[in-house]
Symmetry: C2
Protein backbone atom coordinates (compact mmCIF):
# COMPACT_ATOMS: atom_id res chain seq x y z
CA UNK A 1 0.00 0.00 0.00
CA UNK A 2 1.66 3.22 -1.17
CA UNK A 3 0.46 5.47 1.67
CA UNK A 4 1.78 2.92 4.16
CA UNK A 5 5.20 2.83 2.43
CA UNK A 6 5.38 6.62 2.37
CA UNK A 7 4.70 6.75 6.07
CA UNK A 8 7.25 4.13 6.91
CA UNK A 9 10.05 6.62 6.19
CA UNK A 10 9.41 8.83 9.20
CA UNK A 11 6.84 6.71 10.90
CA UNK A 12 7.91 3.29 12.05
CA UNK A 13 5.33 0.74 13.16
CA UNK A 14 6.98 -1.45 15.77
CA UNK A 15 4.23 -3.89 16.59
CA UNK A 16 0.71 -4.81 15.69
CA UNK A 17 -1.68 -6.66 17.96
CA UNK A 18 -5.37 -7.25 17.95
CA UNK A 19 -7.30 -7.00 21.19
CA UNK A 20 -11.02 -7.51 21.06
CA UNK A 21 -12.16 -5.81 17.90
CA UNK A 22 -9.48 -3.07 18.06
CA UNK A 23 -6.25 -3.43 16.11
CA UNK A 24 -3.37 -1.75 17.97
CA UNK A 25 -0.25 -0.41 16.25
CA UNK A 26 2.69 1.05 18.17
CA UNK A 27 4.60 3.63 16.11
CA UNK A 28 7.49 6.07 16.44
CA UNK A 29 7.18 9.36 14.57
CA UNK A 30 10.29 11.54 14.56
CA UNK A 31 11.26 10.06 17.91
CA UNK A 32 7.79 10.37 19.46
CA UNK A 33 6.30 6.99 20.48
CA UNK A 34 2.61 6.61 19.79
CA UNK A 35 -0.19 4.11 19.43
CA UNK A 36 -2.99 3.84 16.90
CA UNK A 37 -6.15 1.81 17.43
CA UNK A 38 -8.46 1.03 14.52
CA UNK A 39 -11.31 -1.44 13.95
CA UNK A 40 -10.07 -4.80 12.66
CA UNK A 41 -10.13 -4.87 8.88
CA UNK A 42 -10.90 -1.13 8.68
CA UNK A 43 -10.89 0.35 5.19
CA UNK A 44 -11.56 3.95 4.17
CA UNK A 45 -11.86 7.31 5.91
CA UNK A 46 -13.19 7.56 9.46
CA UNK A 47 -13.18 10.04 12.38
CA UNK A 48 -9.90 10.12 14.30
CA UNK A 49 -9.75 10.89 18.03
CA UNK A 50 -6.44 12.04 19.47
CA UNK A 51 -6.19 11.36 23.22
CA UNK A 52 -3.86 13.20 25.60
CA UNK A 53 -2.79 11.27 28.70
CA UNK A 54 -2.51 12.62 32.25
CA UNK A 55 0.59 13.74 34.18
CA UNK A 56 2.88 10.84 35.13
CA UNK A 57 0.94 8.54 32.80
CA UNK A 58 1.54 7.42 29.22
CA UNK A 59 -0.11 6.69 25.86
CA UNK A 60 -1.58 3.37 27.05
CA UNK A 61 -2.70 4.41 30.55
CA UNK A 62 -5.86 2.53 31.58
CA UNK A 63 -8.27 5.46 31.18
CA UNK A 64 -6.90 6.20 27.68
CA UNK A 65 -6.93 2.54 26.66
CA UNK A 66 -10.43 1.87 27.96
CA UNK A 67 -11.95 4.84 26.15
CA UNK A 68 -9.97 4.15 22.97
CA UNK A 69 -11.20 0.57 22.75
CA UNK A 70 -14.81 1.66 23.15
CA UNK A 71 -14.49 4.44 20.53
CA UNK A 72 -13.08 1.87 18.10
CA UNK A 73 -15.45 -1.00 18.89
CA UNK A 74 -18.69 0.94 19.38
CA UNK A 75 -18.19 3.88 16.98
CA UNK A 76 -15.78 2.50 14.36
CA UNK A 77 -13.43 5.46 14.90
CA UNK A 78 -9.63 5.51 14.77
CA UNK A 79 -7.96 6.58 18.03
CA UNK A 80 -4.36 7.63 18.64
CA UNK A 81 -2.26 8.70 21.61
CA UNK A 82 1.40 9.71 21.86
CA UNK A 83 3.68 9.96 24.88
CA UNK A 84 4.13 13.49 26.28
CA UNK A 85 7.79 14.57 26.69
CA UNK A 86 9.32 12.98 29.79
CA UNK A 87 6.55 10.35 29.93
CA UNK A 88 6.05 6.73 28.83
CA UNK A 89 8.72 5.48 26.43
CA UNK A 90 10.34 8.90 26.02
CA UNK A 91 13.64 9.79 27.69
CA UNK A 92 13.66 11.84 30.86
CA UNK A 93 13.56 15.55 30.02
CA UNK A 94 16.09 17.40 32.17
CA UNK A 95 14.39 20.78 32.01
CA UNK A 96 10.98 19.35 32.93
CA UNK A 97 12.56 17.28 35.72
CA UNK A 98 14.29 20.35 37.11
CA UNK A 99 10.99 22.28 37.06
CA UNK A 100 9.16 19.42 38.76
CA UNK A 101 11.82 19.27 41.49
CA UNK A 102 11.68 23.05 41.99
CA UNK A 103 7.90 23.02 42.14
CA UNK A 104 7.97 20.21 44.70
CA UNK A 105 10.37 22.24 46.86
CA UNK A 106 8.13 25.31 46.63
CA UNK A 107 5.07 23.28 47.61
CA UNK A 108 7.00 21.86 50.58
CA UNK A 109 7.92 25.44 51.53
CA UNK A 110 4.20 26.23 51.73
CA UNK A 111 3.44 27.78 48.35
CA UNK A 112 0.06 27.29 46.72
CA UNK A 113 0.54 24.36 44.30
CA UNK A 114 -2.16 25.52 41.82
CA UNK A 115 -0.12 28.13 39.87
CA UNK A 116 2.87 25.77 39.78
CA UNK A 117 0.81 22.88 38.43
CA UNK A 118 -0.82 25.29 35.97
CA UNK A 119 2.41 26.74 34.58
CA UNK A 120 3.85 23.39 33.51
CA UNK A 121 1.44 22.52 30.66
CA UNK A 122 1.85 25.96 29.05
CA UNK A 123 5.57 25.25 28.77
CA UNK A 124 5.20 21.67 27.49
CA UNK A 125 2.47 22.65 25.00
CA UNK A 126 5.04 24.58 22.95
CA UNK A 127 6.49 21.17 22.16
CA UNK A 128 3.37 18.97 22.10
CA UNK A 129 1.20 21.12 19.80
CA UNK A 130 3.52 20.67 16.79
CA UNK A 131 4.18 17.02 17.74
CA UNK A 132 0.47 16.24 17.81
CA UNK A 133 -0.13 18.12 14.57
CA UNK A 134 2.60 16.01 12.94
CA UNK A 135 0.91 12.86 14.26
CA UNK A 136 -2.39 13.93 12.65
CA UNK A 137 -0.58 14.62 9.36
CA UNK A 138 0.95 11.14 9.32
CA UNK A 139 -2.06 9.18 10.55
CA UNK A 140 -4.48 10.85 8.16
CA UNK A 141 -2.34 9.61 5.24
CA UNK A 142 -3.22 6.03 6.12
CA UNK A 143 -5.93 4.74 3.81
CA UNK A 144 -7.90 3.28 6.74
CA UNK A 145 -7.85 6.59 8.68
CA UNK A 146 -7.98 9.28 6.00
CA UNK A 147 -8.78 12.98 6.30
CA UNK A 148 -12.02 12.63 8.26
CA UNK A 149 -13.14 14.84 11.14
CA UNK A 150 -10.84 14.90 14.19
CA UNK A 151 -11.77 14.90 17.86
CA UNK A 152 -9.62 15.45 20.94
CA UNK A 153 -10.00 13.91 24.40
CA UNK A 154 -7.83 14.91 27.34
CA UNK A 155 -8.26 15.64 31.05
CA UNK A 156 -5.83 16.93 33.70
CA UNK A 157 -2.44 17.32 31.92
CA UNK A 158 -4.32 16.20 28.80
CA UNK A 159 -6.52 19.29 29.24
CA UNK A 160 -3.63 21.65 29.96
CA UNK A 161 -1.93 20.47 26.75
CA UNK A 162 -5.20 19.94 24.90
CA UNK A 163 -6.59 23.47 25.21
CA UNK A 164 -3.70 25.08 23.24
CA UNK A 165 -3.78 22.15 20.79
CA UNK A 166 -7.51 22.41 20.08
CA UNK A 167 -7.16 26.21 19.81
CA UNK A 168 -4.34 25.84 17.26
CA UNK A 169 -5.59 22.93 15.15
CA UNK A 170 -8.52 23.56 12.78
CA UNK A 171 -8.93 19.85 12.00
CA UNK A 172 -10.31 19.31 15.53
CA UNK A 173 -14.10 19.60 15.34
CA UNK A 174 -15.06 18.58 18.91
CA UNK A 175 -13.23 18.06 22.20
CA UNK A 176 -13.72 16.48 25.61
CA UNK A 177 -11.63 18.39 28.16
CA UNK A 178 -11.61 18.81 31.92
CA UNK A 179 -9.91 18.52 35.31
CA UNK A 180 -8.01 21.66 34.40
CA UNK A 181 -8.05 25.29 35.49
CA UNK A 182 -8.14 28.67 33.84
CA UNK A 183 -4.75 29.85 35.08
CA UNK A 184 -3.07 27.38 32.71
CA UNK A 185 -4.89 28.19 29.54
CA UNK A 186 -7.68 30.78 29.64
CA UNK A 187 -6.18 32.73 26.71
CA UNK A 188 -6.07 29.66 24.47
CA UNK A 189 -9.55 28.61 25.65
CA UNK A 190 -10.93 31.91 24.35
CA UNK A 191 -9.80 30.84 20.85
CA UNK A 192 -11.71 27.52 20.97
CA UNK A 193 -15.00 27.63 19.08
CA UNK A 194 -15.78 23.92 18.49
CA UNK A 195 -18.23 21.98 20.71
CA UNK A 196 -16.68 20.97 24.04
CA UNK A 197 -17.79 18.56 26.77
CA UNK A 198 -15.99 19.73 29.90
CA UNK A 199 -15.55 17.44 32.93
CA UNK A 200 -15.27 18.78 36.47
CA UNK A 201 -14.75 16.75 39.62
CA UNK A 202 -16.65 18.67 42.29
CA UNK A 203 -14.22 17.70 45.07
CA UNK A 204 -11.03 17.94 42.97
CA UNK A 205 -8.11 18.19 45.39
CA UNK A 206 -5.74 19.44 42.66
CA UNK A 207 -7.77 21.93 40.63
CA UNK A 208 -9.75 24.53 42.61
CA UNK A 209 -13.43 24.43 41.64
CA UNK A 210 -13.49 28.13 40.78
CA UNK A 211 -10.52 27.61 38.42
CA UNK A 212 -12.38 24.81 36.60
CA UNK A 213 -15.52 26.91 36.22
CA UNK A 214 -13.44 29.83 34.93
CA UNK A 215 -11.84 27.65 32.26
CA UNK A 216 -15.28 26.41 31.12
CA UNK A 217 -16.45 30.02 31.11
CA UNK A 218 -13.46 31.10 29.01
CA UNK A 219 -14.24 28.69 26.12
CA UNK A 220 -15.64 30.66 23.17
CA UNK A 221 -17.63 27.65 21.90
CA UNK A 222 -21.32 28.29 21.20
CA UNK A 223 -21.96 24.67 22.22
CA UNK A 224 -20.16 23.70 25.40
CA UNK A 225 -21.52 21.54 28.17
CA UNK A 226 -20.10 21.20 31.66
CA UNK A 227 -20.49 17.87 33.47
CA UNK A 228 -19.65 18.07 37.16
CA UNK A 229 -19.70 15.04 39.44
CA UNK A 230 -18.82 14.47 43.09
CA UNK A 231 -15.43 12.97 43.82
CA UNK A 232 -11.74 13.64 43.66
CA UNK A 233 -9.46 14.38 40.70
CA UNK A 234 -9.17 10.78 39.49
CA UNK A 235 -12.74 9.69 40.20
CA UNK A 236 -14.66 10.49 36.98
CA UNK A 237 -17.74 8.21 37.09
CA UNK A 238 -18.06 5.46 34.49
CA UNK A 239 -21.22 6.91 32.93
CA UNK A 240 -19.17 9.87 31.65
CA UNK A 241 -17.42 7.36 29.38
CA UNK A 242 -20.81 6.67 27.76
CA UNK A 243 -21.38 10.39 27.43
CA UNK A 244 -18.00 10.84 25.69
CA UNK A 245 -18.97 8.26 23.07
CA UNK A 246 -22.31 9.94 22.42
CA UNK A 247 -20.69 13.39 22.27
CA UNK A 248 -18.15 12.35 19.62
CA UNK A 249 -20.78 10.39 17.70
CA UNK A 250 -23.05 13.46 17.64
CA UNK A 251 -20.32 15.77 16.33
CA UNK A 252 -18.08 13.53 14.24
CA UNK A 253 -20.14 10.46 13.36
CA UNK B 1 -61.06 -3.60 36.17
CA UNK B 2 -61.42 -3.29 39.95
CA UNK B 3 -58.49 -0.94 40.57
CA UNK B 4 -59.89 1.38 37.90
CA UNK B 5 -63.36 1.39 39.53
CA UNK B 6 -61.86 2.08 42.95
CA UNK B 7 -60.02 5.09 41.56
CA UNK B 8 -63.03 6.47 39.77
CA UNK B 9 -64.52 7.53 43.11
CA UNK B 10 -62.01 10.28 43.87
CA UNK B 11 -60.27 10.29 40.55
CA UNK B 12 -62.29 11.22 37.51
CA UNK B 13 -60.90 10.60 34.04
CA UNK B 14 -62.38 13.26 31.80
CA UNK B 15 -60.93 12.32 28.44
CA UNK B 16 -58.72 9.79 26.76
CA UNK B 17 -56.82 10.42 23.55
CA UNK B 18 -54.05 8.63 21.80
CA UNK B 19 -51.25 10.67 20.26
CA UNK B 20 -48.48 8.76 18.57
CA UNK B 21 -47.79 5.77 20.79
CA UNK B 22 -48.73 7.59 24.03
CA UNK B 23 -52.22 7.28 25.48
CA UNK B 24 -53.21 10.50 27.28
CA UNK B 25 -55.76 10.62 30.12
CA UNK B 26 -56.90 13.87 31.72
CA UNK B 27 -58.00 13.36 35.33
CA UNK B 28 -59.18 15.35 38.33
CA UNK B 29 -58.09 14.16 41.75
CA UNK B 30 -59.67 15.91 44.72
CA UNK B 31 -60.01 19.04 42.59
CA UNK B 32 -56.48 18.89 41.16
CA UNK B 33 -56.43 18.53 37.35
CA UNK B 34 -53.79 16.19 36.01
CA UNK B 35 -52.72 14.20 32.99
CA UNK B 36 -51.38 10.67 32.69
CA UNK B 37 -49.50 9.38 29.66
CA UNK B 38 -48.91 5.65 29.19
CA UNK B 39 -47.87 3.44 26.26
CA UNK B 40 -50.85 2.31 24.17
CA UNK B 41 -52.10 -1.04 25.38
CA UNK B 42 -49.85 -0.93 28.46
CA UNK B 43 -50.35 -3.75 30.98
CA UNK B 44 -48.52 -4.33 34.24
CA UNK B 45 -46.18 -2.36 36.48
CA UNK B 46 -43.77 0.21 35.03
CA UNK B 47 -41.68 3.17 36.22
CA UNK B 48 -43.70 6.36 36.75
CA UNK B 49 -42.23 9.82 36.18
CA UNK B 50 -43.96 12.78 37.81
CA UNK B 51 -43.22 16.05 36.02
CA UNK B 52 -43.50 19.49 37.61
CA UNK B 53 -44.21 22.37 35.20
CA UNK B 54 -42.65 25.85 35.26
CA UNK B 55 -44.05 29.10 36.64
CA UNK B 56 -46.93 30.50 34.57
CA UNK B 57 -47.14 27.18 32.68
CA UNK B 58 -49.36 24.12 33.12
CA UNK B 59 -49.45 20.31 33.08
CA UNK B 60 -49.32 20.12 29.28
CA UNK B 61 -46.76 22.86 28.62
CA UNK B 62 -44.65 22.04 25.52
CA UNK B 63 -41.46 21.09 27.42
CA UNK B 64 -43.45 18.77 29.73
CA UNK B 65 -45.42 17.23 26.87
CA UNK B 66 -42.37 16.68 24.65
CA UNK B 67 -40.39 14.92 27.36
CA UNK B 68 -43.41 12.91 28.52
CA UNK B 69 -44.08 11.55 25.03
CA UNK B 70 -40.47 10.46 24.63
CA UNK B 71 -40.38 8.79 28.08
CA UNK B 72 -43.51 6.86 27.15
CA UNK B 73 -42.59 5.99 23.55
CA UNK B 74 -38.87 5.28 23.99
CA UNK B 75 -38.76 3.92 27.55
CA UNK B 76 -42.25 2.48 28.06
CA UNK B 77 -42.68 4.50 31.26
CA UNK B 78 -45.85 6.10 32.63
CA UNK B 79 -45.64 9.89 33.02
CA UNK B 80 -47.96 12.23 34.94
CA UNK B 81 -48.21 15.96 35.56
CA UNK B 82 -50.69 18.00 37.60
CA UNK B 83 -51.44 21.73 37.56
CA UNK B 84 -49.77 23.73 40.32
CA UNK B 85 -52.18 25.93 42.38
CA UNK B 86 -53.11 29.07 40.43
CA UNK B 87 -51.95 27.50 37.14
CA UNK B 88 -53.54 25.71 34.16
CA UNK B 89 -57.10 24.58 34.81
CA UNK B 90 -57.04 25.53 38.48
CA UNK B 91 -58.80 28.63 39.81
CA UNK B 92 -56.84 31.77 40.53
CA UNK B 93 -55.39 31.61 44.04
CA UNK B 94 -55.93 34.93 45.79
CA UNK B 95 -53.06 34.58 48.24
CA UNK B 96 -50.56 33.65 45.52
CA UNK B 97 -51.86 36.46 43.31
CA UNK B 98 -51.48 38.96 46.14
CA UNK B 99 -47.89 37.78 46.73
CA UNK B 100 -47.08 38.01 43.04
CA UNK B 101 -48.43 41.57 42.89
CA UNK B 102 -46.48 42.56 46.02
CA UNK B 103 -43.29 41.01 44.65
CA UNK B 104 -43.75 42.84 41.35
CA UNK B 105 -44.11 46.14 43.24
CA UNK B 106 -40.96 45.44 45.27
CA UNK B 107 -38.99 44.61 42.11
CA UNK B 108 -40.22 47.86 40.54
CA UNK B 109 -39.08 49.68 43.69
CA UNK B 110 -35.58 48.36 43.05
CA UNK B 111 -35.40 45.25 45.26
CA UNK B 112 -33.33 42.23 44.19
CA UNK B 113 -35.86 39.82 42.61
CA UNK B 114 -33.94 36.64 43.48
CA UNK B 115 -35.09 36.24 47.12
CA UNK B 116 -38.67 37.11 46.14
CA UNK B 117 -38.70 34.53 43.33
CA UNK B 118 -37.09 32.04 45.71
CA UNK B 119 -39.59 32.48 48.54
CA UNK B 120 -42.64 31.63 46.47
CA UNK B 121 -42.00 27.90 45.84
CA UNK B 122 -41.33 27.25 49.53
CA UNK B 123 -44.83 28.55 50.28
CA UNK B 124 -46.56 26.68 47.46
CA UNK B 125 -44.70 23.43 48.23
CA UNK B 126 -46.63 23.10 51.49
CA UNK B 127 -49.65 22.49 49.28
CA UNK B 128 -48.07 20.66 46.32
CA UNK B 129 -46.08 18.04 48.26
CA UNK B 130 -49.23 16.37 49.67
CA UNK B 131 -51.10 16.87 46.37
CA UNK B 132 -48.35 15.13 44.40
CA UNK B 133 -48.11 12.33 46.97
CA UNK B 134 -51.86 11.78 46.60
CA UNK B 135 -51.42 11.64 42.82
CA UNK B 136 -48.76 8.93 43.19
CA UNK B 137 -51.05 6.97 45.54
CA UNK B 138 -53.90 7.05 43.02
CA UNK B 139 -51.88 6.44 39.86
CA UNK B 140 -49.94 3.53 41.32
CA UNK B 141 -53.23 1.74 41.96
CA UNK B 142 -53.82 1.50 38.22
CA UNK B 143 -52.95 -1.97 36.96
CA UNK B 144 -50.98 -0.54 34.00
CA UNK B 145 -48.89 1.75 36.27
CA UNK B 146 -48.46 -0.20 39.50
CA UNK B 147 -46.05 0.32 42.37
CA UNK B 148 -42.86 0.53 40.30
CA UNK B 149 -39.97 2.92 40.86
CA UNK B 150 -40.83 6.64 40.65
CA UNK B 151 -38.81 9.44 39.08
CA UNK B 152 -39.30 13.20 39.25
CA UNK B 153 -38.52 15.80 36.57
CA UNK B 154 -38.87 19.54 37.16
CA UNK B 155 -36.95 22.73 36.39
CA UNK B 156 -37.47 26.35 37.43
CA UNK B 157 -40.70 26.38 39.53
CA UNK B 158 -40.69 22.59 38.98
CA UNK B 159 -37.34 22.53 40.81
CA UNK B 160 -38.43 24.86 43.61
CA UNK B 161 -41.44 22.60 44.23
CA UNK B 162 -39.59 19.42 43.29
CA UNK B 163 -36.77 19.67 45.83
CA UNK B 164 -39.09 19.52 48.87
CA UNK B 165 -41.17 16.82 47.13
CA UNK B 166 -38.20 14.58 46.34
CA UNK B 167 -36.87 15.14 49.87
CA UNK B 168 -40.22 14.11 51.39
CA UNK B 169 -41.21 11.19 49.14
CA UNK B 170 -39.31 7.92 49.51
CA UNK B 171 -40.91 6.42 46.38
CA UNK B 172 -38.83 8.81 44.25
CA UNK B 173 -35.63 6.98 43.27
CA UNK B 174 -34.09 9.50 40.84
CA UNK B 175 -34.73 13.13 39.87
CA UNK B 176 -33.88 15.62 37.15
CA UNK B 177 -33.88 19.12 38.65
CA UNK B 178 -32.43 22.50 37.73
CA UNK B 179 -32.83 26.19 36.90
CA UNK B 180 -33.29 26.78 40.61
CA UNK B 181 -31.26 28.32 43.39
CA UNK B 182 -30.22 27.42 46.90
CA UNK B 183 -32.07 30.22 48.65
CA UNK B 184 -35.37 28.50 47.86
CA UNK B 185 -34.59 25.03 49.04
CA UNK B 186 -31.07 24.31 50.34
CA UNK B 187 -32.43 22.74 53.56
CA UNK B 188 -34.65 20.31 51.68
CA UNK B 189 -31.85 19.59 49.17
CA UNK B 190 -29.67 18.40 52.03
CA UNK B 191 -32.26 15.65 52.69
CA UNK B 192 -32.14 14.33 49.10
CA UNK B 193 -29.99 11.22 48.71
CA UNK B 194 -31.23 9.72 45.42
CA UNK B 195 -29.33 10.23 42.11
CA UNK B 196 -29.94 13.68 40.63
CA UNK B 197 -29.18 15.14 37.20
CA UNK B 198 -29.09 18.90 37.75
CA UNK B 199 -29.47 21.37 34.85
CA UNK B 200 -27.90 24.83 34.92
CA UNK B 201 -28.18 27.48 32.22
CA UNK B 202 -24.84 29.28 32.34
CA UNK B 203 -26.36 32.66 31.36
CA UNK B 204 -29.58 32.30 33.38
CA UNK B 205 -31.08 35.77 33.75
CA UNK B 206 -33.39 34.67 36.58
CA UNK B 207 -31.29 32.39 38.78
CA UNK B 208 -27.80 33.67 39.70
CA UNK B 209 -25.13 31.15 38.70
CA UNK B 210 -23.71 31.00 42.22
CA UNK B 211 -27.19 30.18 43.59
CA UNK B 212 -27.53 27.28 41.13
CA UNK B 213 -24.11 25.88 42.03
CA UNK B 214 -24.95 26.18 45.75
CA UNK B 215 -28.16 24.19 45.29
CA UNK B 216 -26.26 21.43 43.44
CA UNK B 217 -23.67 21.52 46.19
CA UNK B 218 -26.37 21.19 48.88
CA UNK B 219 -27.77 17.92 47.49
CA UNK B 220 -26.73 15.03 49.76
CA UNK B 221 -26.86 12.51 46.88
CA UNK B 222 -23.77 10.32 46.43
CA UNK B 223 -24.52 10.33 42.69
CA UNK B 224 -25.37 13.77 41.37
CA UNK B 225 -24.29 15.21 38.05
CA UNK B 226 -24.44 18.85 37.05
CA UNK B 227 -25.00 19.67 33.38
CA UNK B 228 -24.36 23.33 32.56
CA UNK B 229 -24.92 24.79 29.11
CA UNK B 230 -24.68 28.29 27.67
CA UNK B 231 -27.91 30.21 27.23
CA UNK B 232 -30.71 31.85 29.14
CA UNK B 233 -33.26 30.40 31.57
CA UNK B 234 -35.52 28.86 28.92
CA UNK B 235 -32.83 27.68 26.52
CA UNK B 236 -31.96 24.14 27.68
CA UNK B 237 -30.41 22.45 24.60
CA UNK B 238 -32.26 19.56 22.97
CA UNK B 239 -29.51 17.02 23.72
CA UNK B 240 -30.31 17.34 27.44
CA UNK B 241 -33.64 15.70 26.62
CA UNK B 242 -31.72 12.65 25.42
CA UNK B 243 -29.68 12.72 28.62
CA UNK B 244 -32.86 12.81 30.74
CA UNK B 245 -34.10 9.63 29.04
CA UNK B 246 -30.81 7.84 29.62
CA UNK B 247 -30.64 9.02 33.24
CA UNK B 248 -34.10 7.68 34.09
CA UNK B 249 -33.46 4.47 32.15
CA UNK B 250 -30.22 3.92 34.09
CA UNK B 251 -31.86 4.40 37.48
CA UNK B 252 -35.44 3.18 36.99
CA UNK B 253 -35.39 0.95 33.91
Amino acid sequence: MSSFRRLIAGYRFTSETSSGSACEKIFILDGVPGVLWTPEGAAGTRPLILMGHGGGQHKKAPDVLGRARRLVAECGFAVAAVDVPGHGDRPTDEEYDRLATENQARVEAGEDPAPLIAGFPALVARQTVPEWQAALDALQELEYVGAGPVGYWGVSLGCGLGVPFVAAEPRVRAAVLGLGGASASADAAARITVPVEFLVQWDDERVPRAQSLMLFDALASAEKTLHANPGKHGEIPAFEGDSTLRFFTRHLG
